[in-house]
């Protein structure tokens, strides 16, 4: 994953609460390999039923402004793949599903939490159209349709988005500590290891 610091693009509004990950990508598409691209699956059923859907009209949108509890539900990272492959780089909402937000950051997608009042004002301003948006991750600021917003972003996530960190490499540096921790834990609490390899009565 590559990091990023600034974005200048277009924002659209999805005036819905509780956009869960089943809506973001229906389960029937999740057997596809990622290499085929997941963009066409994004909000598939809603978009197929509605040619005037905001993401059918503005296929170049990079920022999504939406209501509370975005990305709730299933842990499917495919929901993030669908957003990212469509071209979305940031989602602004009053709240996100916890697992979704973690998945988003792991794929360079910014889950930006702003207040409900700010979101409602933005949704009113954007309406069914497309507006300009700029994001400065390092400064923790964004401007959407001329409205300045400060990003309530966990500093760890901010660093991760900026640097494009890969956790596996990061963790590898702690290999010795992990091994030592495990040895100590297994010695003090031998029952934590499964009783048998295959579950057969011993």
């Amino acid at each position: 994953m590559r990091g990023w610091t600034t974005l200048t693009g277009k924002a659209v509004a999805l005036a819905q609460a509780n956009v869960d990950t089943d809506q973001l990508i229906p389960a029937r598409f999740m057997s596809a390999p990622r290499s085929e691209g997941y963009g066409t699956f994004l909000l598939h059923d809603a978009r197929q039923d509605d040619p005037e859907h905001v993401l059918n009209r503005f296929t170049g949108a990079e920022v999504l402004v939406t209501r509370r509890n975005f990305g709730s539900g299933s842990s499917r990272e495919a929901a993030v793949y669908a957003l990212v492959d469509f071209g979305i780089r940031a989602v602004f909402a009053p709240s996100f599903g916890d697992i979704f937000a973690g998945n988003a950051v792991n794929n360079g997608l910014l889950p930006a939490r702003v207040s409900e009042d700010e979101i409602e004002a933005l949704i009113g301003q954007i309406g069914a159209g497309e507006v300009s948006a700029t994001i400065d991750l390092a400064a923790g600021r964004a401007v959407i349709a001329g409205t300045e917003l400060s990003l309530d972003l966990d500093p760890v996530w901010q660093q991760k988005l900026v640097n494009g960190w890969d956790d596996i490499d990061l963790t590898a540096q702690h290999g010795k500590q992990i091994d030592a921790f495990r040895a100590t834990r297994n010695a003090a609490h031998p029952w934590v290891v499964p009783a048998t390899k295959d579950g057969a009565a011993s």
Binding site: N18, S72, G97, D98, D154, V156, I168, I178, P194
Partner: protein, 465 residues
């Protein structure tokens, strides 16, 4: 004297390998459960030429795509199951495949096999991993990037969630279950009401629940936005675990019992949030909308958007449009087209027993499917005569799997059809494109089956419980 600690703090400390200055902990993972959906993570591992770090702590299960009925299996479903088999073999993982007598839904078989134990950290690439918290285990769902990380390192980076305690006083009435309690609190606090929190469930109602009930309660924590759910282990927990295939034996068992004594929140421990509920006041509960927070007692009416303000009005209107319901309609008059009993939420033996009590000697007025949570549950239900009650009532008795909860294994609700369902999500399209889902307990599903509409199960259970 050490400061009083919550169960969450104790579990966290026991797994913390290190903590960075920014507050993120590196935690050791005791059990990692993978399923067909983990193919993205195995692909990431392959890309980097890595092997699974701790295959003896990693277990594979065929559940999401498991076909539950005889007939042709779609090629993509077959491929997903085959891929998991290949990955399990390549990395030397124990796999509960379709032929294994222990096969079933990952969150049913973990406890059933004794893989789920108090005090463990359990991860799985599935949001309902919160289920395992019913044993006093630190259990939470993760996405594919994190699954790959756990496969490669047997660890996970996490910030400790805030703590929240839901204390339920009183007693649940007859026909009122852990499912009703869960839907009740989610409706009270909202589908994001517990966001960023670990919930510990406490109080006499929780203590009185069986392991099955506690599993249902912890399972649904995620539907209220919580990262995980917890119930402190007690004699009910211990009795459930003893003798399970992977559970500790001999001296290890004694050591485990001693360690588990410590797994409770200390009397004076501080929680970031405290919620108190009266269990006696909870009625059988059903959902009317497209989020689990859209739940009401069966005795209530469909809400009227005109009486709501702002964005809530739009949200409720959109839900009613999708669900084809009119404001003010009595919930117990909503006709259903079909029913489903099963899932990681409510596919356990106790769920089937209570549903069978309702169905015994009665006929379902609509078609329905019953998919036990595991092959073991299936066997037991057949031995107890429950399967015969379901089929005599006119319902179809299927094999174990995620089945009609998730709409990816061939079991689906057709567009425009209304299903009374013992599952966990009434999201748009969850059970199939255009499907209309009403969530409720298995007993309430059985009541809907014999009534042909959503119905209060209490009169139907009179003299039977």
């Amino acid at each position: 004297m050490t400061a009083p600690r919550t169960l969450l703090e104790k579990l966290w400390t026991a797994h913390e390998i290190l903590r960075r200055d920014d507050g993120t902990s590196l935690l050791f993972v005791d059990r990692h459960l993978v399923h067909e959906g983990s193919h993205h993570a195995f692909a990431k591992l392959k890309e980097r030429g890595l092997q699974v770090a701790a295959p003896e702590l990693t277990f594979g299960v065929v559940d999401h795509y498991a076909p539950t009925r005889a007939g042709a299996v779609a090629p993509d479903i077959r491929r997903m199951i085959k891929t998991l088999g290949e990955n399990a073999e390549a990395h030397g993982l124990k796999l509960f495949d379709l032929r294994d007598p222990g096969q079933g839904i990952v969150h049913v078989i973990g406890p059933e096999q004794g893989l789920t134990l108090p005090g463990l950290l359990i991860n799985c690439g599935d949001s309902h991993t919160s289920t395992h918290g019913a044993f006093g285990a630190l259990a939470f769902g993760v996405g594919a990037t994190e699954v790959a990380h756990i496969l490669a390192t047997q660890t996970i980076w996490q910030k400790r969630p805030k703590s929240m305690r839901i204390t339920v006083e009183g007693a649940l009435g007859p026909g009122v279950t852990a499912k009703d309690l869960a839907l009740h609190w989610i409706a009270e606090l909202g589908a994001d009401g517990a966001r960023g929190h670990a919930i510990e469930y406490a109080g006499p109602v929780v203590r009185a629940l069986s392991m099955e009930g506690r599993l249902t309660l912890c399972n649904l924590s995620i539907e209220g936005g919580a990262r995980l759910g917890l119930v402190a282990p007690d004699e009910v927990t211990v009795a459930y675990i003893k003798g399970r295939p992977f559970a500790p034996k001999g001296a290890d068992w004694e050591a485990a019992l001693a360690d588990w004594q410590e797994l409770h929140s200390d009397a004076e421990a501080d929680f970031d949030r405290e919620i108190r509920l009266d269990g006696s006041a909870i009625a059988p509960t059903v959902t009317w909308g497209t989020s689990p927070e859209d739940a009401l007692p069966i005795t209530a009416q469909v809400p009227d958007p005109a009486r709501l303000d702002g964005s809530r009005r739009e949200t409720v209107q959109a839900a009613l449009d999708y669900m084809a319901l009119s404001p003010g309609m009595a919930l117990d008059q909503v006709a259903v087209d079909q029913v489903f009993i099963g899932s990681c939420t409510n596919g356990r033996i106790e769920d089937l027993r209570l549903a069978a009590k309702v169905l015994d000697g009665r006929k379902a007025k609509v078609p329905g499917l019953v998919s036990p949570g595991s092959a073991q549950v299936k066997k037991q239900a057949e031995a107890e005569g429950l399967a015969q009650i379901f089929t005599a009532a006119g319902l179809e008795w299927a094999n174990a799997g995620c089945s009609m909860c998730v709409g990816m294994n061939g079991d689906r609700v057709e567009a425009g059809k209304r299903c009374a369902s013992s599952t966990n999500r009434n999201f748009k399209g969850r059970q199939g494109r255009g499907a209309r889902t009403h969530l409720m307990s298995p007993a309430m599903v059985a009541a809907a089956a014999v009534s042909g509409h959503l119905a209060d199960v209490r009169p139907l259970l009179e003299g039977r419980v």
